[in-house]
Symmetry: D3
Subunit: 338 residues, 6 copies
Amino acid sequence: MVNKIAAFGEVMMRLQVPGYELLSQANTLNYSFSGTGVNVLSALARFGHIGYLVSQIPANAVGDAAVSYLRKLGITESFVQRSGNYMGMYFLENGFGSRPSRVTYSNRLESSFNRAAEGTYDFLEISKKMDVVHFCGITLAMNESVRTHMKNFAKAVKANGGTVVFDCNYRPALWGEDGYEKAKPHYEEMLHLADYVMMNEKDAIYTLGMKTEKESPQEQLMELIPEVAKNYDISVVAGTHRSINRNNTHSLSGFLFKNQTFTFSETLTFPVYDRIGAGDAYTSGIIHGELEGFSPDETVHFAASAGMLAHTIVGDTPMASQSEVLLAMSKSVGDMER
Amino acid sequence: MVNKIAAFGEVMMRLQVPGYELLSQANTLNYSFSGTGVNVLSALARFGHIGYLVSQIPANAVGDAAVSYLRKLGITESFVQRSGNYMGMYFLENGFGSRPSRVTYSNRLESSFNRAAEGTYDFLEISKKMDVVHFCGITLAMNESVRTHMKNFAKAVKANGGTVVFDCNYRPALWGEDGYEKAKPHYEEMLHLADYVMMNEKDAIYTLGMKTEKESPQEQLMELIPEVAKNYDISVVAGTHRSINRNNTHSLSGFLFKNQTFTFSETLTFPVYDRIGAGDAYTSGIIHGELEGFSPDETVHFAASAGMLAHTIVGDTPMASQSEVLLAMSKSVGDMER
Amino acid sequence: MVNKIAAFGEVMMRLQVPGYELLSQANTLNYSFSGTGVNVLSALARFGHIGYLVSQIPANAVGDAAVSYLRKLGITESFVQRSGNYMGMYFLENGFGSRPSRVTYSNRLESSFNRAAEGTYDFLEISKKMDVVHFCGITLAMNESVRTHMKNFAKAVKANGGTVVFDCNYRPALWGEDGYEKAKPHYEEMLHLADYVMMNEKDAIYTLGMKTEKESPQEQLMELIPEVAKNYDISVVAGTHRSINRNNTHSLSGFLFKNQTFTFSETLTFPVYDRIGAGDAYTSGIIHGELEGFSPDETVHFAASAGMLAHTIVGDTPMASQSEVLLAMSKSVGDMER
Amino acid sequence: MVNKIAAFGEVMMRLQVPGYELLSQANTLNYSFSGTGVNVLSALARFGHIGYLVSQIPANAVGDAAVSYLRKLGITESFVQRSGNYMGMYFLENGFGSRPSRVTYSNRLESSFNRAAEGTYDFLEISKKMDVVHFCGITLAMNESVRTHMKNFAKAVKANGGTVVFDCNYRPALWGEDGYEKAKPHYEEMLHLADYVMMNEKDAIYTLGMKTEKESPQEQLMELIPEVAKNYDISVVAGTHRSINRNNTHSLSGFLFKNQTFTFSETLTFPVYDRIGAGDAYTSGIIHGELEGFSPDETVHFAASAGMLAHTIVGDTPMASQSEVLLAMSKSVGDMER
Amino acid sequence: MVNKIAAFGEVMMRLQVPGYELLSQANTLNYSFSGTGVNVLSALARFGHIGYLVSQIPANAVGDAAVSYLRKLGITESFVQRSGNYMGMYFLENGFGSRPSRVTYSNRLESSFNRAAEGTYDFLEISKKMDVVHFCGITLAMNESVRTHMKNFAKAVKANGGTVVFDCNYRPALWGEDGYEKAKPHYEEMLHLADYVMMNEKDAIYTLGMKTEKESPQEQLMELIPEVAKNYDISVVAGTHRSINRNNTHSLSGFLFKNQTFTFSETLTFPVYDRIGAGDAYTSGIIHGELEGFSPDETVHFAASAGMLAHTIVGDTPMASQSEVLLAMSKSVGDMER
Amino acid sequence: MVNKIAAFGEVMMRLQVPGYELLSQANTLNYSFSGTGVNVLSALARFGHIGYLVSQIPANAVGDAAVSYLRKLGITESFVQRSGNYMGMYFLENGFGSRPSRVTYSNRLESSFNRAAEGTYDFLEISKKMDVVHFCGITLAMNESVRTHMKNFAKAVKANGGTVVFDCNYRPALWGEDGYEKAKPHYEEMLHLADYVMMNEKDAIYTLGMKTEKESPQEQLMELIPEVAKNYDISVVAGTHRSINRNNTHSLSGFLFKNQTFTFSETLTFPVYDRIGAGDAYTSGIIHGELEGFSPDETVHFAASAGMLAHTIVGDTPMASQSEVLLAMSKSVGDMER
């Protein structure tokens, strides 16, 4: 079934040093445009849905390039506003082995998206047309005006019977000092509005301030997530545990909590080419599984495999089709087909 | 001993997306020219022989580039005809980890090689000058006219006392529906003419329709290959088993069946940079070992190591010299020499 | 006014050697996707209209890349069919000064577009929705089946009150021997259906076989074009004269014949970066001028300036917005704005 | 004579689309770091002086890259402060022929330089060590805090007997509405402190609000500049007239007003590779000529030739040595020396 | 008629900064392999002859790359010796407009070619097989041992009835102080052996120390060249006059002196992409014209056009075929053929 | 504490084939400038010290590029002489998996550094200003004149109370036949002057000709190093054992011998991106630890981690800051920080 899915969020320009040089060594950058919403919509477009970005993008040559890029990804631009002058940017220096990747942000608080005036978006109109709308904790970290947009949008979706997806996605650098304290009320407001929530036990402990005696992440997860689901009346909670190995591989396992029951994927270990945005592929897999009526086991397995594949793709944005994810789920790596 | 070795086959243009982007992400392609015959001749030229390609290449700028490229590889062009307008091409998107590589072909059936008129090549003349001629199952899949060229050439070689090498190389996509059935008579005809044959148990079962009760590939191999050698009166049968691991490595073991005896290489596991054409390096190692009078053990070890090295080289075409293969056979990886 | 404009035509993959190397010197290609229809629609989208391509594109990775590229250009893909395996391609080696550019085609006759089955397109449905549909003589050169598609489409547009644009665009290499003779009846059929026609005196003389005693192209034009307009009942005939100078500049002048009157642009001389597709920018300027109700003088000046700008853009496809064309019409070259 | 020359100003990151593609076509950027001060110091370092940048640069990976780049240019970093998070950036799309270059800025007002706290720089200490300090009107356009830094620095230089150079460099986009009115008092303050001033008649008319009945720029210049020199007690006023031709060439002539006398260079016409920063090369030539005691004629000729050469260099920053400028002044273009 | 043509000379590695950056700005180099002999043979191979290089190239990875490159150019390597460790190299920074190109050499005196031991080459054998052998004044500048090789080779050619071509090609930097004096006896020795000589009046005046009262280069040429031809008994003397314009164009005219008669080409003015090696294209045109029995007028026109085209080709080495030169001689620049 | 540290040594130009192609396949090289001294100074500059290179670099465009590069690395150039014409160069072809990297040198014996005249450097003056001076066995291999420079410099440092660091760094290819025998007296001379020495048991056995009955490298090390320290009165001896695995990883362990006591790091195994120069990072870590008064355990751990990180950096030259090394010592690989 083809669903209409919107995402509300900022489009960032990614400026990546090619290969493994540092910014102080190189003189060339690859650029692309991404963002949690962009990534989720691109993935879902490849699973057969129609994705609409709700955002504001500058009315200049950089903005033109961003919109062209979104179109190329297959994202529908009809709810994209064009106004303002600046776009959030980040620089990426690829890590290798024992040297971690490094991200340096430009001043995104003055971006077109983060400075969008009241009344920029017609949330009522949009909410009527969409089946699902995706929100993300990064947006929540920006400023009061964007937070207001976001909450109004989520309320309008709820009011019109749409599904609200909320990815907790807490970024310490954006919230600054006493960040968890500042963030908590906003997160709680969104959790009360959300149907599907992406999070794990760390969000529960740090952002929501929940307590547990358990020590292992797995035990903490199993104690706290059901509580969260109950407190905020959330139908689906999903997330991942990730560990990063020194040999350029990661290990990833996903969980899904629904109808009082946990379902876990097996732990996948795989070589990593580009880590950014892989979490959004997992989110997209969960949304797709739920929309298609997959069993919890199928959904979490599909989402984890989509997440794994996203680590093999250049750029933040997942590019795998449903059939490619299904193939990766089968677990044997085939030779190339000729 | 320097041998004169010809190969009959198509030259393809390889158009590869650099790095790990998809065709829908990138805007640049690296190009080179290859083909089973090209690869085998290039490898054998590096082992000290003289390689002659027998093929037809378009009489235009693309063909000029192909011929320049062949010369660069050290292949002698004196039997290359220049006529027609089109060259077979394929696009390659590199896989990474759990994401397999992807090959997309252009319409090669209209290529200069596949449309070569009767009488294009003077097979009698060529056969008189050559010690060994290499043929390949991919050519057999094209059309009746190319098959006729190929069989006439093989017969001429046989008649003039040369050695016929035939690589079974069955490609399902080229034969289409009921492919094995269609292919069988042509394969049988070539096997009757061949002295050295590259194949494994899968070719015996699927293409030749042979039966076995055995279940493991190794047991099937050991049952079927001696039968094939006997049925078609083949002096050397050789091939490999390959498995593809999820961490960007492959495992490869080679076998050689000769004088009723199997010889096996150990299983080599190694990181893979470029998989295409590595089988042709193995073939070249077998041919070289036989021509040089290596022991079966040396030959299969040499061929497997040549195959391993070919996975570390950019492009389809093997580039290792004999001394580099011998070094790789010694199995310890040295530091760079300075 | 925003118009809905469709174009019927093949999408080609352009494979360009970067810089000024030859195919036999380089090892990298830049690729993009274009075609007369693509170019016209992209230009018109930048002038504020909505462009729909009517075409068939292969259902594989190359086709995916083409569709992504069309989306990036702002072309609506809703009438693009996905089927078949092959796409027309051409290689471009850039000329410099006294050395002309060189184009080498792949075998496009087997492309998805040129092999599209009867019933592939719902021309009736499309014709009802479109204001203007663009056709081109290159398509006419392909095969009977594509010609039938094309004529049926043009008739449906006519029947539904839409405007038919026909660009004569005769390509000698595609028609082969006795090409003008073969082409004439098909061109005449299209001219009878067309409202706006892109051509000059050469098309009248060679393709339509018209006679004139005049010697200069300008005199021939002024004698023959009014006759053509009358014979085939065409409301607008437009075209250009181009001369190519040895110092990397071209000179271009445009004409427009409408209501029995010729209007000429002045002759523009300008440095050329990428010549291909510039004629399509001129066509787009004419269509836009007519749709917007520009005076003939404004239209031909706008079209010639759009054509001039297209020579400064990388790739076949015009990228200038209406405001950029208007700026270029003002004729003084400004310093960059900071 | 080796002079110690400081410049006060912002370091910008230049992000340039390579070749002639637009931002919406390409996916790669070349980056470098520049700024009026950086350009002037780099040029003067190549003329044999020691250049010190007085600026603040972010304490992150982007700032590290900027500082490495300044060092590479031969600029001494001892007065560069490292603090804050952001750097001004601009995107550059190269024009070609009739299509002008296009510059798009990021939000530089939040840059480390423009947010530098009071007391960031020890202007007294720096002024004692420097012979000449260069200031620029772009800095004046930023905010009150930077203007205060700038004026304090100029006063300290004056008080310590150093030479103050001020380049008027009015940028309309930075001052916004009623910009000239807002700018005037600040410009006047700097002019009163300055010894050498870079400007032409346009600055006198627009920024200083001076009146003239003359119509040609040349006549206006000759009427107004002596008045400016007198009003603000400036010993050297210098500047250029530039015209931009459609064939990728510019024409440039320089003037120098000193001791009540105008000296003019001839008008140079030359092909342009990279226009940005060429004005700073002219400024550097004037400063160098004055410091070395060149005759006015030598100085203006040297400066104009330095300016011309800067148009042939990749990037904003002049790279020509004194001997290369002298060679260019000789006016015949030689073959390469081998 | 297909002639066998050898050239004796060094192969140099050319390391070129791409685009217009300086070595101190860039971080990438394009490399290729060239030399006067290489260039002449490549051009003549494209005119239908067979070219053999007589040289010594290092027996290492750099030498392997050089030999591959020669093969790619279509040069036969059978007389190329492989020994020694070093190859002459030069760095090229492209000039632009008023900024000249810059060449920086590595220490080529220790190259494999310049250190080739006595007996390295079997000149007698080679001379018997060749119709024409090309020598060049650059080789003469190296050291006594190379000069001895060169003179022995020329004598062997002469003795075996072959044609000796000698290009004077005086390079001041290689001969050092009192260079002309040192060079003269060696040049005279070669001129006595030569049949065709490439030179102009400057060589006569400076290298041979001839006197003239005439002032213009043209008058000097017409006085001195007949004298040279007579003194040294040379059947064909040919050369060019070149002037370099500031707008990235050059002007070139060629002359041919034969049978006591001068023939001149018209002066060609054309945009220049890569100047190095264009003189060798002129030489090749003269050789080809003489071998094919062109009229003097055809020969000099062909050679000048070949020279012009070589300025439009990337790299030192001419790439134009005979048909491309003939097309360029027709003087109108055509549009690309499609 | 900020120390002033000089290094005496040659600057080499590194010309690297990008990616994994061979020199005979590619046509582009990346270039940078390095050398043992350069690498050590760059690393120490990133640990907070001031590094001065003592060397001679050609006075041409290649030398300009080298000096710009050193400045970019943060190395102070005040003791760099500019004279001569040539620079040592080496070509690097990256290995992959079972295929080792390959280095090909140019003729460095004629380099500006190796031909520096007597009196080029004012060693007395330099020695008075420096705290530590680094020397290397590669320099010792060059020629008598450079050896004399080197020993005079070391004696001056010793006489002025500075610390002499000597890295044994024996390169067989540079010493030629009977190399160890030739090298021994020079090594002994330097060891007598040195305070810190980089070496392992192989240097003791081969270069110093010491004997041991032990068989394992570890036992040999523990027997011979204390003897060396005693014989030559060296306060710190440090070095590494490295093993190279076939899966693109290396294993490295470091030791430090001081005050009669061995301290060992654990064995680190890590993916390798660029192996060259990693030994210099280890050296720098040892020097830094000693200068900062780290415990032996901290020092050897710091040095081994610095060495590990250097394998992840593009180019020969270490780029890690002290805080980055400390982070790597913590041993868990973190996710990127955002």
